[in-house]
């Protein structure tokens, strides 16, 4: 007795094939399925549909009868899952999985994905999923998160310093936006939490660029100066092709130092807007630093020999920047003015001391992170000292 289904009045031009396919799914190739129904062109529809799908309509049978083919099974015969399930992050992601979701059953064939990083330990950090969750939970709207009405009054000569610092921050944040954007486009999407985190990081930086620009133009029509040395320093970050080295230089050393700078600016902010924008940016940057540190430590745990590559990267960058001016004079001076709050000699002396303290704080933070990653204390101190004078 062959299997039978009844399509009632439904035609294959209006979804009837779904019922036929569902019934065929339970049959083996060569098995027969009798298709009953009242649609006037049921047999014609079935003949055309069977032909296209690799089944056969038995022309001799009285009732329309489909003889099951095997094309649908053949298509999936050698299909493999992209990881055991959605939660399973495979040590190696096959480019043949292409853009398939993690855990999906992947039909063989199709173009391989052209990406550079396909090994978990070269991009991963166990904390990535939590950091991504935190990143999405902490997104904020520049229009409302900053109290743009808290705009002053700020003395003219202090405002000049604010504009200069904001100009410098925008330049740095643009580099910090481009780097994760570049990295994520070369990453296998199987490691999606890392990709999502990098995307959130790029979005964070996009907001930072916006708020710093807006703060710079709050009382002025033009931005400040952009020194060649600072730009050269940032460009070395963009040129780093290795995922971990780029993440290490940008997040562990650069954004880590930047975080101290943002705290400094928040503490010495001459108005509410400056205090808000630096506070919000610092919150995001802390997350970027956390990933960079966790990821670099993950790589070093898997391969302690990687420490020497990290060391070389710092030394190479230092050598490349040895002949540049580093932080431009105007930015340094502006930080002193901001911390001083006025041009009185006593205030300037205080500001000067504050900036020296900032540099010490940055240095000790870098050393702490380098030690966490696995460097001995003396080496951490030596490497921290080689970090760019441009902070980022």
């Amino acid at each position: 007795m062959p299997a039978t289904i009844d399509l009632e009045g439904l035609g294959l031009d209006a979804g009837g094939h779904l019922l036929v396919e569902r019934a065929l799914a339970h049959l083996a190739p060569g098995d027969r399925l009798v298709v009953r129904g009242r649609h006037p062109t049921l047999r014609l529809h079935l003949a055309a549909w069977c032909r296209a799908e690799g089944h056969r309509l038995d022309q001799e049978a009285t009732a329309p009868t489909v003889v099951r083919g095997s094309a649908d099974l053949d298509r999936w015969r050698d299909a493999r899952r992209a990881g055991r399930n959605a939660a399973d992050v495979a040590p190696h992601a096959s480019p043949a999985w292409g853009l398939a979701a993690r855990g999906a059953l992947v039909e063989p064939g199709g173009p391989p994905l052209s990406v550079d990083w396909v090994d978990r330990d070269l991009v991963w950090a166990d904390i990535a999923p939590q950091l991504y969750a935190q990143a999405t939970a902490n997104q904020w709207d520049p229009a409302t998160a900053v109290d743009w009405a808290a705009r002053g009054p700020v003395p003219d000569d202090v405002e000049d310093a604010v504009v200069q610092v904001m100009t410098y921050l925008v330049e740095n944040e643009q580099a910090a936006l481009m780097i994760p954007a570049r990295l994520l486009s070369r990453l296998h999407p199987h490691y999606r939490e890392v990709m999502q985190l990098l995307a959130a990081q790029a979005a964070d930086e996009a907001r930072h660029v916006e708020i710093f620009t807006r703060r710079a133009l709050l009382h002025r029509d033009v931005l400040g100066l952009s020194g060649a040395g600072g730009r050269a320093s940032l460009q070395t970050l963009l040129e780093e092709p290795d995922f971990t080295l780029a993440s290490f230089l940008l997040s562990v050393l650069g954004e880590g130092s930047f975080l101290d700078l943002l705290h400094f600016l928040h503490r010495h902010a001459p108005d509410g807007v400056t205090a808000d924008v630096t506070r919000l940016a610092a919150r995001d940057e802390a997350r970027h630093v956390a990933f960079g540190v966790a990821h670099t430590a993950h790589v070093v745990r898997a391969d302690p020999g990687f420490l020497s590559r990290l060391r070389t990267a710092v030394e190479r960058r230092h050598a490349a920047l040895a002949d540049t001016a580093g932080l431009n004079k105007q930015v340094f001076d502006a930080l002193v003015i901001l911390a001083a709050g006025s041009w009185e000699p006593a205030a300037i002396a205080r500001g000067w001391q504050e900036v020296l303290r900032l540099q010490e704080t940055m240095d000790s933070g870098r050393r702490r992170r380098l030690e966490y990653i696995g460097f001995p204390a003396d080496e951490a101190a030596a490497l921290s000292a080689l970090h760019t004078r441009n902070f980022m």
């Binding site: 035609g11 294959l12 032909r51 296209a52 063989p108 064939g109």
Partner: protein, 285 residues
Amino acid sequence: MTGTLLLGAVAYDPKVVTIWEGFRSWFGDHGLDVDYLLYSHYDRQVEDLIAGRIDLAWNSPLAWIRAERMARARGLALRAVAMRDTDRDLRSLVVVRADADLHSVADLRGRTVATGAVDSPQATLLPLALLRDAGLTPGGDVEVRRFDVGVGLHGDHIGGEREAAQALRAGRVDAACLIDANLLAFGREGTLPPGSVRVLAQTEPYDHCTMTAGPAADPGLVEQFGKLLFGMSYADPVARPLLDLEGLKRWLPGRTDRYAALDRAVTDTGFYDPDGAFDAGHHRP
């Protein structure tokens, strides 16, 4: 085995380049040197096959009829090597609007029937033969509105059938001719919404394209070509995209006993003469 098989195919769509470039490379990977030559219409392809300028021709059913007639007239041998599983047992239909007062082919007397291109076996030659079988003379008892899209492509271009179906739906004609697969496709895409048309008549099952080996082809190479084709598996991820593009699940041996109705239609309309030459007055692509 050395030597190249030169295969002719008609470029009815830009994807034809992708298809035969893919097959060429696939055959190369399997040790057979196959190259391809693309034609803008079937008639020159058939003439080149008979003249020995190509070894194989991926022929429409009408091209097969003409090649077969030309070969017979010259005492040459042709071989139908292979066909797609989707080339077997097709039917052509004459459809009318569901609410039309037309219930048999004879009712079409004095009415207008839309067809595909002049040289479409499925949408013109075979369905019009149904009318003649019912005693109606197309162009006399029944007005024929022909949609000549892609003449020379023997109906491979779907445009003529779609325009015929659109004319039917718009009420500009009383009936339209199309292949069974397009009744389903036009229903799904909305050109002929489900329930809007009724099948007035249908042909007996017939076969469609055939891979034809011509008189110049090396029989050993053709043998190897056939063996490789029949070995192409839909389970093979390299072969599958090619099969999908060409619209089949597997290649089957060629068979030539289901072209009789078309052969008769060609004779009845004088589309080609018994030697495969164009009859005077017919459109030449």
